[in-house]
């Protein structure tokens, strides 16, 4: 990426980002429906088709809302959650990265947006009252503890742009040197696993009408963004990088990246459906999820950077010693010069 960002590339990147966002938002309910169907197949239940989730959302959009106490706040939270989820989807690379110089967010901002969306999604459960209040508080607690659990992963990504981080990972093979980042991807993937109150069933939301549709769509978007993030980190080589060569190779890489994204989603759907086979109570599921995310992220960080940090530490100490030696020599020289100066008069 030695070349400078041209207007053409910037416009192409804007188009690609818009396309990625629309693709992600449209595919989110499909993915959720697929996971639901696969989990039903694994557990021997009969569930809706993959498109049933979209039909449900569409149906809820057209239904009149049943106004209840605290509905204004719930509606606001749902809209905010959807906005945050779409914002995160816009920042997440699906099939292409952005070139250097293009404004790109950091990984911390991305994770914060997703955790904020999850918190907002838990808010209607608390506001509505009734039987779901306790589960809503538990969900809020679990989501607020997610960001501390993600600290090792955030440390791995560092303070650089997420796109630059992925462009660095892109040079590493996931089978070889990039293997620790596969572990990091697994940690990110486990963020979406073991959610909901029961195996496979999401928290019951008492919203109605368009608010409920927005709530469902935002939930699916958050899930798909986490999955896509995990896939990007685990195998960044499948993403296209604009500016490396001409437009046509970039477009071909984008198509291949889209195909690889679908393949990653298929694998993730299988794994997610497999995690739903574990029947645990909700608090225990939350604990398992947080512990898995934190410990796997810690292990990945150790594996990826322990050797390098040791080498860097050794280099730093070596350079510090060199500097000190040089300074000692200089002091000796200065003292010699001063001695000579003192001696001459």
């Amino acid at each position: 990426m030695t070349h400078e960002l041209t207007w053409g590339w910037a416009f192409a990147c804007l188009l690609a980002l818009a396309l990625q966002t629309v693709l992600m938002v449209l595919a989110a309910p499909w993915f959720s429906g697929w996971v639901n169907r696969l989990a039903g197949r694994l557990t021997g239940e009969h569930r809706f088709l993959a498109g049933g989730r979209w039909q449900d959302i569409h149906h809820q959009f057209r239904r009149p809302a049943l106004r209840q106490r605290g509905d204004g706040l719930s509606s606001l939270a749902c809209r905010g959650a959807l906005v945050l989820a779409v914002f995160a989807a816009c920042m997440t690379p699906v099939f292409t990265l952005v070139p250097a110089g293009f404004p790109a967010p950091g990984f911390f901002l991305l994770c914060s947006a997703l955790v904020g969306a999850s918190l907002l999604l838990g808010l209607p459960l608390v506001v509505q009252g009734g039987t779901t209040t306790l589960a809503g508080y538990a969900a809020l607690l679990a989501e607020s503890l997610l960001l501390p659990a993600l600290v090792p992963v955030l440390v791995m990504a560092g303070g650089q742009d997420f796109s630059a981080f992925l462009a660095h990972l892109r040079q590493l093979s996931p089978v070889g040197d990039g293997a620790p980042f596969v572990l990091m991807g697994v940690a990110l993937f486990l963020v979406t696993a073991w959610k909901g109150r029961q195996a496979g069933a999401e928290l019951p939301c008492q919203l109605s009408g368009a608010d409920r549709a927005l709530w469902m769509l935002a939930t699916d978007c958050v899930q798909l963004v986490w999955i896509t993030l995990a896939g990007d980190v685990a195998w960044a080589s499948s993403l296209a990088l604009p500016g490396e060569s001409g437009v046509e190779p970039w477009l071909a890489q984008c198509l291949a990246g889209g195909a690889f994204w679908v393949a990653k989603l298929a694998i993730a759907a299988l794994l997610l459906a497999g995690t739903q086979l574990m029947v645990l109570t909700f608090p225990r599921r939350a604990r398992v999820r947080l512990a898995a995310v934190f410990l796997l992220g810690l292990l990945a960080w150790q594996v990826a950077y322990a050797g390098q940090s040791g080498a860097i530490g050794q280099d730093r100490t070596a350079s510090a010693q060199d500097e000190q030696d040089e300074q000692d020599e200089q002091d000796e020289q200065d003292s010699a010069w001063s001695d000579e100066g003192n001696a001459t008069p």
């Binding site: 293997a179 398992v288 898995a292 410990l295 292990l299 150790q302 594996v303 050797g307 040791g310 050794q314």
Partner: protein
């Protein structure tokens, strides 16, 4: 650092979390992790050993019934293993530790073999099911062998291979001793067609004997109580004969006598029933003697009619012999030996049999149509052919279920 090296501890965690099902995947990934760097005889030997130790036990266990019902440990056990892995990595990945190993300086490093072994030890320590602990031991063997192969330690690989053989053999013997075999019903074209469906669908001692001994190391003679076994054998002997024509002709004569006696004397048998039952327990010991005496006493008619009754209800075999009957038959035997009444065997049979039939008629309803001769008896005896294997299976299953209930 390869992906296989990263995946091996993850799969070991899956073994800790879910059981022996992930062991073949762990073995294959460990073998790949060994073979990726170099393909020398040491690596190849280690890979073959690891695959064998991981695949063969799972195949062996798959022939037995699942025994995971007693597991009470929670889902947090894999996190203990994961935390210990982090601590291990912290201890071995520090610059001081890395400086000692010249090959690892500056590169990503994970002591995958030690992590796998650690996960196996956690499974052995924290899990309660026997198969789970066996899987943990095998994962431990895999991990140590991976570590030895990566570090090129021939002695470690050799000793681990030996230990793996011992662990696999001992674990297999324990599994074979403790666990129950999966029901195997081989479809034999000739013999399978003859058996009734209820028998061929279930667990058969005969099938087990062909492939190996009884699951708990006991033969059918030891499992089944000796008295029941002898009764079952007697029942099997009595079931098989289709009546020969001359026997059938002989039977036709006493059947009339039986019918008459049945009409004449049913109330006498029912009236004496209470006293007879009260003294049943005392006559169990002399049961066999009474049978032989009866056979001597009634050579042709009563033998043929009384035996199918026993085949139909073996549990009521104790009820059939009564003290009065015994005394009567003994008296008659003495009379016969003395030659007092040699010319009237048919009359004696007609005297003896009604008591017998009335007794069995009250004891079991299935014996009701017994006195109507062999032509009516045969179609009823066919649908319930209780072979010794079936009885032995029932007794064994009852004992097994009570044992499981006691465990629960």
């Amino acid at each position: 650092m390869t992906l296989a090296v990263i995946l091996a501890p993850l799969l070991a965690l899956c073994v800790v979390a879910r059981g022996i099902g992930f062991l073949p995947a762990l073995g294959v990934v460990t073998a790949v992790a060994m073979l990726v760097d170099a393909r020398e005889p040491l690596q190849e030997f280690g890979a073959v050993c690891v695959v064998l130790f991981s695949v063969l036990p799972v195949w062996f266990v798959s022939r037995y019934q699942d025994d995971g019902a007693r597991e009470r440990t929670g889902p947090m056990v894999p996190f203990l293993a994961l935390g210990l892995m982090v601590i291990l990595q912290l201890a071995t990945g520090t610059p001081a530790a890395m400086g000692e190993a010249p090959g690892h300086a500056g590169a990503a490093y994970l002591p995958a073999g030690l992590c796998v072994a650690l996960a196996g030890l956690v499974a052995v320590t924290c899990r309660q099911a026997m198969v789970w602990q066996w899987a943990g031991l095998l994962a431990c063997v895999d991990g140590v062998m991976l570590s030895g192969v990566i570090e090129n330690q021939v002695m470690v690989v050799g000793v681990t291979a030996l230990a793996g053989c011992v662990v696999a053999l001992l674990g297999g013997m324990c599994v074979h001793r403790v666990m129950l075999r999966v029901a195997v019903a081989p479809a034999q074209d000739g013999a399978g067609a003859e058996r009734p469906s209820a028998q061929s669908a279930g667990f058969e001692l005969g099938d087990v004997e062909q492939t190996g001994p009884e699951p708990r190391g006991l033969g059918p003679e030891a499992v089944v109580a000796p008295r029941i076994w002898t009764e079952a054998e007697a029942a099997a002997e009595d079931e098989e004969p289709l009546p020969r024509p001359d026997k059938a002709a002989k039977k036709a004569v006493p059947s009339d006598g039986e019918a008459k006696a049945d009409v004449d004397q049913p109330p006498a048998g029912t009236g004496a029933l209470q006293d007879k039952r009260a003294s049943d327990a005392e006559t169990v010991a002399s049961d066999d003697d009474a049978e032989t005496v009866k056979q001597k006493d009634v050579p042709d008619a009563s033998h043929d009619t009384a035996k199918p009754t026993e085949t139909e209800s073996i549990e009521t075999g104790v009820m059939k012999t009564d003290p009065s009957e015994d005394a009567l038959s003994e008296d008659k035997a003495q009379d016969r030996k003395a030659g007092l009444n040699p010319a009237a065997p048919d009359a004696e049979a007609s005297e003896k049999i009604p008591e017998h039939t009335s007794d069995t008629a009250t004891s079991s309803a299935a014996d009701q149509p017994e006195p109507f001769g062999p032509e009516e008896k045969e179609p009823e005896a066919e649908p319930v052919p209780r072979t010794p294997e079936m009885i032995a299976r029932d007794v064994w299953l009852r004992g097994y279920l009570t044992e499981r209930g006691r465990d629960a």
